[in-house]
Symmetry: D2
Subunit: 393 residues, 4 copies
């Protein structure tokens, strides 16, 4: 059944998606959005929509291991996840609401998300504090009657523009233990006092709509207390919980990018000639890159799938160490593969005629967003060394 | 005297240039151009204009070693070379016309270039052929009376938009020995039949004016034979000749980018706190990157300056091996330093608030343009191995 | 059942093997051999002997995947494989005779090998020819009545000293197609004309007995034609056949070395103090190495096991590409892990008090023996690129 | 004059030294020592002896920059420095006594060292403490009348066997400030209570005589107070002082190893054939290694020479940052070059027929001895970051 799904998705990518990527890469998101919406409708019509979702929400209730393989496939196109409604941060927000949302929250926000009728964002990182240490934040949500009044400054809220709502992380009890201080609260984007200051120009592009990263200001933003997700002080615990599956999604998406880049590299190497009848593919340097990339992609993919299988079998907590490992390991493989694929393409690899340059600049963030490599390495090592008797940190 | 010049240039960069870089990074070139022109006027007024030029052309006739140090300094800003009229490809075109241009060519094209009144471009690479092997090209210039009639297709003609003229490499005798087939010919950009097809979108930006890379078409472009530079068939020899000094310019510009990135990395590491009172600079990973970058930048800089000194003393030919070595070696150091500087900056390093992201994406071309690393490595090795008795290649 | 076996082996390693490794590392093999023989007897007595062998030969008929896990465990000690009679090249010779030996060959040579009563070696590489291209060899076996008369020069015949016999690769038909020229022939080491010229000094050690690499000369060495294994001209095909499982064995042994080195590194990092109360384990550089090693070992192990599973399911031929991939990929991980483990140990890591220095110098050969990395990379890439239409090589 | 010296040394290396290296590599030092002594006599006879020494001591009073070039040349042979009496630790001990020894110490110990009549060692590192933090040591020298009574445990005292004396670092005032606690004291090796416990087996070799690393025990070792070098408590200051020039010596010796390895790699690549008429030198992978090595060696060499020039001009203190930089940078280049040279040699590179395997295993210590890379990187970075306002460490 999974194999059939993968076959159907690949067919759709080949027929309908890959042929329009070059246009996508050279057009603002907001401009090309109507075309994308038609494709999304087609995905639904083919019964391929959001297969990670429970069946009640229109999905196929795939295990993490199974969805990982879907995610790798969607990752082969820069618009794959969006077209199948598997895109971050909506996928995480939907899952969060499914696990911890009230019936009202689910009805109002989760169902439209699952249907792709609205989009959402997540507001956690603050410019004044290092994102790698999320304990520190200045945004507060103060109770006032039946409301929270939120004040604060966030950035790198991806896809905020034209979102229906954001989930904002705010301190609800500054005196609690560090990991119990914050809560996650739904704030409709049109709430008075909530301003999208700018789409941050990232790697040369401020972007638009879904393809953007916003700076947000909250000035006395008032929302009902019932907009809080879970209990007060659960903010970090909920954030932690979404990370596990989120990492699998990201890592498998990166594997997909690797596979596509590998494919483009091989195809171009065979086609492009240095001299008449002498393709690039005969260069030993190119051959060795191809062999090394193949080994690293295969090994990385097995590592992620094995981690997903551990999570499916024993839960995210049991796989904590691995979840950190795959983050930095796969990000490293991703950037190496992209770099080599570009080098094989030469000047053509610098252009926006292929998705390589798009991934090269935007996926540089893979080693930064969601905790920089260095934080993950340190945390993995500490956990391992504790097993050897390390008592300090 | 050189030290005074360097001091004066640094003062100008600090006062007038660095403060406007963020605006530059977030504004199309064509829009910010008027401001840049004012700064260029100021450079002239301060007597710092184009110090590489002969004194007769308004420069200071610096040796390659001396200009290398100027170039490193200018490289610390993404607009440094442009503001001082030291920007490629004009610097190379000016030098070419100075060495090989006829008096008429010099009067018409070189003088205005040296004064910064016009800009120019260079049309060599063709999309149908690997740039790494410039022998193959399809563009032809056929004599017809006192004219050449040029037909062909070029791309990656940097800065073509709004240039006054291009120097185009075209086959003038297809039956000659491979390196004697082509000539370099001046074609005013407004010549009928010469079309700028598009500014190629590179790393997300089609760019404008000076900051662009064009695709050009030549359809029966007719120019007088007197527009040829040097003798017929000298095209490759002239191209080769410009490469030597050009590499020193590029490499020292890259050293400048390294120095600035190093500076930004150190300053940010000290300023940015992970926890109150605990700056990033205390992280051992960051410290080790800084130490390694310092060593690699210093070593690379000495290598380039030593090569420049060899060229000043014995000519470009004597330093051929080194000229290839520095190309790939410094490009490698550059990309490593940039990558680490971004990592230290975290998400901020992905934004266009600093020049790091700009350099990260555009200087990826350092390993590709002007001969990819692999071509240079192979050619250096062959030369070395010939000394050990290698007879084939 | 496999888990029980692994548990039993680990217990034996912990109780009896690891404690005597330091003595092993500081004693010539021939001197410590009697102690090793006692341990081998103990392995037999515990019923753990050579589990890869068919049950009829006293083993457990493990699948490749299962034996891979045993091999990784044995690899944690520099004498693990030898003690369990799983050591190369005997393991390969036994398997070869099991698959292709005549009943007489099996009775005379295979049974004593399986019992550990004798040892054997393999004579393939010749000093005059690059080992990476085994087609070229000068050793000949010429029929003379019912005998072959063998003449030639071999080296890197590992473990030849005190072997009962060698299997020698010799040209039996110089006019055949390149891969049909050679045959594999059993030559007892005491055959007149067969001389062990020297044990080659490798990384400072000529070595003795099992722990040695010999140079052999064959001068009119006469053996009966019935000593040939398989059909005449099958030499390469048989060599190819042994490579598949052999790579799994090697790679899993390397994984075992990685695991042990990782363990030593973590334990030492926690124990060794830079200042009172401040163990090395608190250094971020050490932490990051540990995290990176963990990720790379896990990924590499999964890659090898997946390859073994492919071979168990579909045969060695189906897994050809992967078999080349794991060779160079795991060798690279191995040397990186060893290098870091030594660095953490400081000067202590240079000594022969731990097995790290032993592995560091002898496993450098992992990237060379059995086909250098570069050959494997090229061959993998060509196979992949053929799938993209590459027709030349 | 320097050029003539270099020419003379190279001639001696070519004629007399390189031809006997293979014998050296396969013979215990103590056995081959008589031959080496004859060569040392020849060096003296040719007037090439110890050119770093002041003329009064028989040398040529070379600047650090000039001697650096000599050292690089001597480094091309594993016995170069020994034959010219430029070997560590004698070179450092001689210099120390020259700068800080009393006239009696100079007469008794320095003159014979300079003449090559005796050898010496240095006893600093202790097995119980991390060598990377030399403040911590347990060896004490307690005054008793006109004597010091020394008790302690040292290891990695290189070349102790058959040395005439050691200079031992011992705590003379445990209550002083950390860097004022220790003194350097001369202890003749035949002093009662001073025992050479063992030559530590390093990378498979306990070694002999000069080529060894000893573990020493001091039990009530009594020496006159006049054996102290410099003032009491100056131990660290003197140790620090010797480090500067010592690093230049080491780094230039490593450059010499790089040059020789590069030479061997190129020569072998041209000679060794993969197929008839197709040398290894045609492999692109080999070509790229050669090009990369050439660039890295050249850059590293310029960095060391520039550092030496800084020290010659402004003293060791002024070049402190650079002195740390070159230590880890050149060590890294060295090990990379060695690794590649071995890979090009294949199995032959693993043997002791060339010096590559000797250097590969013993120069692994380059990243450890004399302060591991990590310590140097941290200390350089802290110094740099202090310039950016870092106040903690």
């Amino acid at each position: 059944m999974l194999n059939q799904l993968l076959t159907d998705i690949r067919a759709f990518l080949d027929e309908r998606v890959h042929p329009m990527e070059r246009e996508f890469l050279n057009t603002p998101f907001i401009t090309i959005k109507p075309k994308l919406e038609l494709l999304r409708a087609e995905v639904k019509a083919r019964g391929l929509w959001a297969p990670h979702l429970p069946t009640a929400l229109g999905g196929r209730a795939l295990s993490l291991t199974a969805f990982g393989q879907v995610s790798a496939l969607l990752g082969e196109s820069p618009i794959g996840h969006y077209l199948f409604n598997c895109q971050a941060p909506d996928i995480g927000n939907t899952e969060l609401l499914h696990m911890h949302g009230s019936p009202e929250q689910q009805a109002q926000w989760m169902i439209p998300l699952a249907n792709g009728d609205i989009r959402s964002c997540f507001a956690m990182t603050e410019p004044e504090f290092a994102g790698s240490n999320p304990i520190h934040m200045a945004t507060t949500a103060v109770r006032d009657g039946n409301d929270y009044v939120i004040n604060g400054h966030k950035w790198f809220s991806s896809s905020a523009e034209n979102s229906a709502f954001t989930i904002v992380m705010a301190v609800t009890d500054a005196d609690a233990a560090p990991h119990k201080r914050a809560s996650q609260i739904i704030a409709p984007m049109d709430t008075p006092g909530l301003t999208l200051v700018r789409n941050i120009s990232v790697m040369g592009e401020p972007g638009t709509d879904y393809a953007s990263h916003a700076e947000l200001r909250f000035v006395n933003v008032r929302v009902p207390i019932t907009n809080r997700i879970g209990a007060e002080g659960d903010g970090f615990a909920l954030a932690q919980e979404r990370l596990g599956p989120g990492r699998i999604h990201h890592c498998m998406r990166w594997i997909g990018i690797c596979e596509r880049s590998f494919h483009l590299m091989c195809a171009y190497a065979v086609k492009r000639e240095l001299n008449p009848g002498e393709p690039l593919a005969l260069q030993q340097a190119v051959q060795h890159w191809i062999a090394e990339c193949r080994a690293e992609i295969d090994a990385a993919k097995l590592l992620v799938l094995d981690t997903a299988a551990q999570m499916d079998a024993h839960g995210a907590h049991a796989a904590r160490e691995r979840v950190s490992l795959i983050k930095f390991h796969v990000a490293g493989v991703l950037l190496k593969v992209l770099d080599r694929a570009i080098q094989v393409h030469g000047a053509y690899g610098m252009t926006d005629d292929t998705p390589l340059a798009y991934w090269y600049r935007h996926e540089r963030g893979a080693r930064i967003y969601d905790g920089p490599d260095e934080v993950h390495k340190t945390s993995v090592a500490r956990r391992i060394l504790k097993g050897y008797g390390l008592t300090r940190s």
